[in-house]
Structure formats: structure tokens, C-alpha cells
């Protein structure tokens, strides 16, 4: 019964949301524009992948678009032929069925053409993948460790020095209170600088310098997680007992948000990732401040009380 009331309450809230849905068309256009701009964080009505803020992420976006347009082109030809057939060869229009049932020439054609298309799309994908796998020449190393349900960041190496910065990053408290079942709090009211940050903000972001090739070594302590900031163009599974690596060189200062992408238990939806990218000089100031006050850096915020165990 309680659930029935909850559903009804939800529906009534839903109606106000529905009005927003009805105002959609203008926002869809906005969403399209936003997604073609170099935006990095999700926006309402976003239709496409964001280009991100690294050369790699833009390459990933480009190859995504190439393959998408190849699919659209094939779709137009195939579905076009189907619709022509459906309208031209109707029995109700007196169509008389032909009796032919094979043509070796045709079948060779539509085996060979897809092979050529596949080779054409595998080529750039291979080049890009080789580039993405190459972590050599990294100037900085960050160790990322996934826990249920937070991330630990260790600054292992910065141009040959060991910064000795090490902290835990977990969901900030307003999101965490709002997301409790029956909290009665509105997710729309969780904002930072006008950007809705519900479930996409942390207490302590990963601070990184712009223009530096950062190597991430990714692992986990309990179950498998996956470290994903879309603006960087990749995700990397964080697996207990295994250390994976990936790299990024961020081009623009800014705040880039992501989430855990591998199911890791009840808090899976509640362990966001936030990168704060600073110009190199500002980053070094930040780093100096952290190392001079190690106590502050080590203030590892644990996850605020989560939902009571079910049962």
C-alpha cells in the first residue's frame, strides 16, 4: 500500500516534470548546440557524445561520428530499399511476385562492399588505439583506487618528484542527503555555480595540471569499479589485484565530472569523480599548499551514513 501512495506522489511530481518535457523542442536545439560545442559535462536534452577536453577525447569523438555517419548512410540505403519495396510491391496495388531467388553477382557485391567499409573504419580506430595505449613519456602519475563507494587518489610522481599527496574523494553531503529514499529533498536544488551537480560532485576533487601528460594507474581494493570521466575520452576498470594504466593530457582548465561505470554494489550510483584542472602554476601552488599541510590533505572524508541495511 505504501508503495501505491509513493507511486501516486511520484506521479504528481512527475506532472510538473512533464510540463518541462513539453517545453522540449527549444531545449533539444539547445542540447544539440551544447553537444557540438566543446562541452564536457552532461546537459539536459544532450543527444550526442561530448568532445571532451583532451586531444584523445576529440579523436574518440571524431571516430564515433565517422562510424555513426557510416551507419546512417547504410541505414538510409537499406531502409530506403525496404520502404520502396513496401510501397511499390503491394499485392493491393496488383503487384505480381517475381520468381527469381538468387544472384551470385549481387551477393558478392554486398559481401565485398561491407568489407571495404569495415577496413576503412578499422584503420583510424587502430591508429587511435595504439596512441591511447601508449603511456610512455608521462610527466605525472596518479594512482586511483576504487573502494565501495569512494575513490582514493595518490599523487605518486610529478616530474620526478614524489608529492606525497593522498586523499579520499567521495560524494558530497548535500547529494548524499538528497538521494536517501524518501528524503523529500529536490535533486534540482543541488547546484554549483548554476550547474546541477546532483550525484556528480565530491567533497574533494582530483586536482590536475593542464598541459601535462598524466598517467593514471588504476586499481581497486574490494570489488571491480570503473574510473570514467567522459571529458577525458575513456574509462578504465579498477580491478582488485590488477593495476591498469591509461593517460590524459587536459587542454583546458575546468571542472570535469564523471562516475563509476562498473556495478559495484548498492552505492554504485553514488561514487562520482570530479577533476579540477588548473593552469600549471596554480596547480603547483595547490600542490605546495597540500604538502606543507599534510594533516589537511590527509583528512579523508569517509562516506556519510548511507542507507540503513535492508532487512
Amino acid at each position: 500500500m505504501i508503495h501505491v501512495f509513493k507511486v501516486m506522489a511520484m506521479m504528481s511530481v512527475g506532472i510538473s516534470r512533464m510540463r518541462r518535457v513539453l517545453r522540449a523542442p527549444a531545449q533539444i536545439v539547445l542540447g544539440l548546440l551544447a553537444s557540438t560545442a566543446a562541452s564536457a559535462n552532461p546537459v539536459p536534452w544532450q543527444l550526442n557524445m561530448a568532445k571532451g577536453v583532451t586531444e584523445t577525447s576529440r579523436d574518440v569523438y571524431d571516430i564515433h561520428m565517422v562510424v555513426l555517419w557510416i551507419c546512417v548512410a547504410i541505414g538510409i540505403v537499406v531502409f530506403g530499399a525496404m520502404f520502396v519495396a513496401m510501397f511499390r510491391f503491394r499485392k493491393s496495388k496488383g503487384a505480381v511476385p517475381a520468381t527469381w531467388s538468387h544472384s551470385t553477382k549481387l551477393e558478392v557485391v554486398w559481401t565485398v562492399i561491407p568489407i571495404l567499409i569495415l577496413i576503412a573504419s578499422a584503420w583510424p580506430a587502430t591508429t587511435l588505439l595504439i596512441k591511447m595505449a601508449d603511456t610512455s613519456g608521462s610527466e605525472m602519475t596518479i594512482k586511483v583506487t576504487g573502494y565501495q563507494w569512494k575513490w582514493r587518489y595518490e599523487y605518486v610522481d610529478y616530474f620526478g618528484e614524489q608529492p606525497n599527496i593522498n586523499f579520499i574523494s567521495s560524494l558530497e553531503s548535500q547529494s548524499n542527503r538528497t538521494r536517501q529514499l524518501g528524503s523529500g529533498m529536490d535533486p534540482h536544488s543541488v547546484n554549483v555555480d548554476g550547474y546541477p551537480t546532483y550525484l556528480l560532485d565530491v567533497d574533494k576533487p582530483l586536482v590536475l595540471p593542464v598541459g601535462v601528460k598524466v598517467r593514471f594507474v588504476v586499481t581497486a581494493d574490494d570489488v571491480i569499479h570503473s574510473w570514467w570521466v567522459p571529458a577525458l575520452g575513456w574509462k578504465q576498470d579498477a580491478i582488485p589485484g590488477i593495476i591498469n594504466s591509461a593517460w590524459a593530457r587536459i587542454d583546458e582548465p575546468g571542472v570535469y565530472r564523471g562516475q563509476c561505470a562498473e556495478l559495484c554494489g548498492r552505492g554504485h550510483g553514488f561514487m562520482p569523480i570530479v577533476i579540477k584542472a588548473l593552469p600549471k602554476a596554480e596547480f603547483e601552488q595547490w600542490m605546495a599548499a597540500q604538502t606543507s599541510a599534510p594533516a589537511a590533505a590527509a583528512t579523508a572524508t569517509t562516506l556519510a551514513p548511507t542507507t540503513a541495511p535492508k532487512g
Binding site: H3, M10, G14, R17, V21, S35, P42, P44, L47, N48, M49, V60, I63, H64, V67, C71, G75, V78, M82, A85, M86, F89, K91, A95, V96, P97, S101, H102, E107, W110, I115, A122, L128, L129, M132, A133, T178, R179, Q180, L181, G182, D186, P187, Y198, L199, L200, I224, P230, G233, K235, Q236, I239, I242, A261, E262, L263, R266, H268, G269, G311
Partner: protein, 540 residues
């Protein structure tokens, strides 16, 4: 005995049906009755798994947690998948195979009728066991249907029940597959050469080999989970020298062929229906059969494309990308051949044809997103997002399930002896095909915008498309009640008797037996006339 009374009945129903409910259904060895049991079971599971999907879509209707705890949400996603895959899609195909393979190849029954009975009657127990975990202390499985350790081993003892249920489902599938292979290889009527068989029977022959090959692999994987949990082994535990990624390799060595197990019979169904309503032979019959075999072979060598983000070596990623892209070629051949079958045909659009055409278009859209997912650098973005959710629901709902619905409308007159209501069938089709796109198409956008899958709550930027998707979900769910209505009406209330031929353009042995198909058919092997066979110009 049981059939003494039947002899007194009207002369055109030489039925010899066993009398009494238990005799008829529990002890049955008749392929048609077992087929019916499978199909009814699949329908019940479809609604069970579907109601879980409704809970998922209700929680995701808007941001914030409104209805369920995350733990329960995770149980819903896990069990929804297990029920739909092992309880709805696979048994539905086995049911269709049971009903139609003997009729299509001119056999009196399945080769191993008692095993057939057993392979069905295991299933209800397996699913009761699986569903019972929802009511256990410590709750049901919450680690996703893929059961990745270490997460899947974190929960309570329900995992042991889930593993035992999976073993039973596996045994059932393997027995079903053995039966189908034995039937097709041994019991074809004289003159029914393998390359004259209807494509549906071909698709099942190939699927059955896939099942026999991979169900034991799944059984091995889950057994290793069991021993890791209860007997101190460390197959997948890094702390004990094991490797959590090894589970994923073993699981997907089963899992990828599994997804083709769920689509190849649908390919077969569509290859029956499109020629019938185009009144034109299937284009490239031989190529269609080889394409099926080719897809089945490729399914064994592409498994790690489900794991591009686990940190495989570069060479491994490149290999699995290239191998995966190859699948597009035989799949393309199939799609092009269906379209060419329609070309210069004489088309009518009864409900089975509508579902078959929707299958070709929407499955192809799922194939396109599959091709995109094969591109490893792009997959680093798509992986584990709603883009993947959209992809596999296009191939499984508008693919496998639309294929099953097409088959039910196509063969229901043969099974029941009555025509279904074409008007309500078409309403069911249009409601389903529109709502399913409202449901799943926006999920592509959500994934591309950055929404991970399997999360119970999300940022408000994802709110609009989630609401649209949920509305589509409730609409699609409600539309399926029409499906039940149409079936019940056709079986029990329709006054519109089906002819033997049923469909003007239908070819094949199943259309030579009366409607409804008598309890026993082809007790004497039929004399095969090549012009009656399949749809292709099979003499070449």
C-alpha cells in the same frame, strides 16, 4: 485405455490425446504439448521479468530515490535479465522449435520424447528457486546477471540458489539442444535433404550446437564461483592467486554465443515469414544458411569485446575489434537478402509480416550500435553506459522478442485451428513498435551524454530522456496485455476457423497438416514434393 474414448469422436480429429490434466501435461511426451508448455511458461516469465522492468523504469522516472532502495533496484536489474534471458526468450524459442521442427521436417515427434518432457519440467523448479531468493534473508542476487566476482560473492547465500538454478536451466537447455540435433539429423522425412530444410529448422540446428558448446562453460564458471564462496578456492580472488578477469573471459566465452542463441532462431523465423507474405522465394537460401553458420562460428572468437575496459593488452584489443567487426558481414548478407526477398514480391501486411519487417529494421539499428561498440576507442566511452543498454534491448526486444511474436502470430492458426483477430493483432503491433522506440531510443542519448548503466538514480541533466523512456516502458508493458488478449481470444473464442494452408504464400510441410495440427502428425512419412518445400529454389 486413455484414447479409447477418442475413437468415437468426429472422424477428422484422430487425436489420441491423453485424458486428464496430469496425463496430458505433466506426463506428456508429445512435441506439440511440450511446445505449448514451453510457450506458456515463456509468456509467464515474460510478464514476471517485465514487471521487474516496470519497477526499474518507475524508479528511474525522475531523479531522486522515490520507490525502492538501491539494493532492491540491483536485485531487479539482476533478476530481470536472468528471467528474460533464461526464462522468456530461450524457452520461447525451444517451444517454437518443439512445435515446428517435427512439422517442418516431416517427423512424427522429437527424437527423445521423454527427455523432452524432463527438459521442460526442470524449468519451473529452476525459476521458483531463482525467484525465491527475493524473499530470503540477505536478499536476492544484486551483482548483475553477469555475476562478476568479487561483487557477486559479497551478498548472502542466495548466490548458491542462483547458481543451482542456473545449473538446472543449463541442463534443460543442453537436453533440449541434444533433442533438436538428434531429431533433425535422424528424423527428417525421406527427401528432406539438409539443404532443403526450412531456414527456421536450420537456425535451430545451429543454435543447438551453440547451446551444447557453451552451457557447460557457464556451468563451469558458476561452479567456480560456488567453490570460491564456500570451499576456499581462489579461482577469481587475487588475494589467493586468482584473477577476477578470468571469470569475465570464461563468462563471455559462454555469453557471446548465448546472445546468438537468442537471435539465430529469430533469423530463422523472419526467413520463413518474409517469403510467405512477399509470395516470393527466400533470396539466397544457401547464403542464408551459410551466413547463419558463419555467425555461429564467429560468436566463439569475439567474447572479449564485452571487456574492452578491463585493461587487455593492445594486441588483444585489436584482435577482438577486428574479429567483432567481421560479424557485420554475414549479418549484412542476411539483412540484404531479406530486403531483396521483398523486392518485386507481392506484399501483404498481416501481423506476422509487420513484426518481421519491424524486426529487420529495428534489429539492424541494434546492429549499427553494435558496430559502433566494436570500435574499441569509441567503446571506451560507450562501455557500461545506457548506450549499451539501448543496443542490447534493440537486438533482444525488437530482435528476439519481436521475432517470437511474429512466430506466434504466424503459427497460432496452425496450433489452435483458429484465426486470431487481425485487427487487434495490428493494434498490438503498432502499440508495441511505437512504444518500444519511445522506451529504448532515448537511451542512446543518455549513454552518449554520460549516464552509466545499472544506477538507481542520476543527475538532473539525464532527467528528461529518462522520463520519456519510462513512459515508453509503461506503454510497452501495457501493450503486451493486448498480446495475451489476442492469444486467449484466438484459442478459446475465435469463430474464424483456419484453413490447412492458413497463409496464401506459405510453403513447407507444416502447411500440409490440418489446422489445428492433430495430436499426432506424420506418423507415416510424407511424400516430399520439392515445390512444396521451404521457400528457396532449393534444387540449386
Amino acid at each position: 485405455m486413455a484414447h479409447a474414448a477418442v475413437h468415437d469422436e468426429h472422424h477428422d480429429t484422430h487425436d489420441h490425446k491423453p485424458q486428464g490434466f496430469l496425463n496430458r501435461w505433466l506426463f506428456t511426451t508429445n512435441h506439440k504439448d511440450i511446445g505449448t508448455l514451453y510457450l506458456v511458461f515463456a509468456l509467464i516469465m515474460f510478464f514476471t521479468g517485465g514487471s521487474m522492468a516496470m519497477i526499474i523504469r518507475a524508479e528511474l522516472f525522475e531523479p531522486g530515490m522515490q520507490l525502492v532502495q538501491p539494493e532492491f533496484f540491483n536485485q531487479m536489474t539482476t533478476i530481470h535479465a536472468l528471467i528474460m534471458i533464461f526464462g522468456a526468450v530461450m524457452p520461447a524459442f525451444v517451444g517454437l522449435g518443439n512445435w515446428m521442427i517435427p512439422l517442418q521436417i516431416g517427423a512424427p515427434d522429437m527424437a527423445l520424447p521423454r527427455m523432452n518432457n524432463w527438459s521442460f519440467w526442470i524449468l519451473p523448479f529452476a525459476f521458483v528457486l531463482l525467484l525465491s531468493t527475493l524473499f530470503m534473508t540477505g536478499a536476492g542476487p544484486q551483482g548483475g546477471w553477469t555475476l562478476y566476482p568479487p561483487l557477486s560473492l559479497q551478498g548472502g547465500n542466495s548466490i548458491a540458489f542462483v547458481i543451482f538454478a542456473i545449473h538446472m536451466m543449463g541442463i534443460s537447455s543442453i537436453m533440449g539442444a541434444i533433442n533438436i540435433i538428434a531429431t533433425i539429423l535422424n528424423m527428417r522425412a525421406p527427401g528432406m535433404d539438409l539443404l532443403k530444410m526450412p531456414v527456421f529448422s536450420w537456425s535451430w540446428l545451429i543454435t543447438a550446437f551453440l547451446l551444447i558448446a557453451v552451457m557447460p562453460v557457464l556451468a563451469g564458471a558458476v561452479t567456480m564461483l560456488l567453490t570460491d564462496k564456500y570451499f576456499g578456492t581462489s579461482f577469481f580472488d587475487a588475494a589467493g592467486g586468482g584473477d577476477p578477469v578470468m571469470f569475465q573471459h570464461i563468462f563471455w566465452f559462454f555469453g557471446h554465443p548465448e546472445v546468438y542463441i537468442m537471435i539465430l532462431p529469430a533469423f530463422g523465423i523472419v526467413s520463413e515469414i518474409i517469403p510467405t507474405f512477399s509470395r516470393k522465394p527466400l533470396f539466397g537460401y544457401t547464403a542464408m544458411v551459410y551466413a547463419l553458420a558463419c555467425i555461429a562460428f564467429l560468436s566463439f572468437i569475439v567474447w572479449a569485446h564485452h571487456m574492452f575496459a578491463v585493461g587487455m593488452p593492445l594486441g588483444g584489443e585489436l584482435y577482438f575489434m577486428y574479429a567483432t567487426m567481421l560479424i557485420a558481414i554475414p549479418t549484412g548478407v542476411k539483412v540484404f537478402n531479406w530486403v531483396t526477398t521483398m523486392w518485386e514480391g507481392s506484399l501483404t501486411f498481416e501481423t506476422p509480416m509487420l513484426f518481421a519487417i519491424a524486426f529487420v529494421i529495428l534489429f539492424t539499428i541494434g546492429g549499427f550500435s553494435g558496430l559502433m561498440l566494436a570500435i574499441v576507442p569509441a567503446d571506451f566511452q560507450y562501455h557500461d553506459t545506457y548506450f549499451v543498454v539501448a543496443h542490447f534491448h534493440y537486438v533482444l526486444v525488437t530482435g528476439a522478442i519481436f521475432g517470437i511474436m511474429a512466430a506466434v502470430y504466424y503459427w497460432l492458426p496452425k496450433w489452435s485451428g483458429n484465426m486470431y483477430s487481425e485487427r487487434w493483432g495490428k493494434i498490438h503491433f503498432w502499440m508495441s513498435v511505437i512504444s518500444v522506440n519511445v522506451l529504448f531510443f532515448p537511451q542512446h542519448f543518455l549513454g552518449l551524454a554520460g549516464m552509466p548503466r545499472r544506477i538507481p538514480d542520476y543527475n538532473v541533466a539525464f532527467a528528461d530522456f529518462n522520463m520519456i523512456s519510462s513512459i515508453g516502458g509503461f506503454w510497452f508493458g501495457a501493450s503486451q496485455l493486448l498480446f495475451v488478449g489476442v492469444i486467449v481470444h484466438a484459442v478459446y473464442f475465435s469463430k474464424n476457423r483456419a484453413t490447412t494452408q492458413v497463409w496464401e504464400g506459405a510453403k513447407g510441410l507444416e502447411w500440409t497438416v490440418p489446422s489445428p495440427a492433430p495430436h499426432h502428425t506424420f506418423t507415416v512419412p510424407p511424400v516430399i514434393d520439392d515445390s512444396m518445400l521451404a521457400h528457396g529454389d532449393v534444387t540449386h
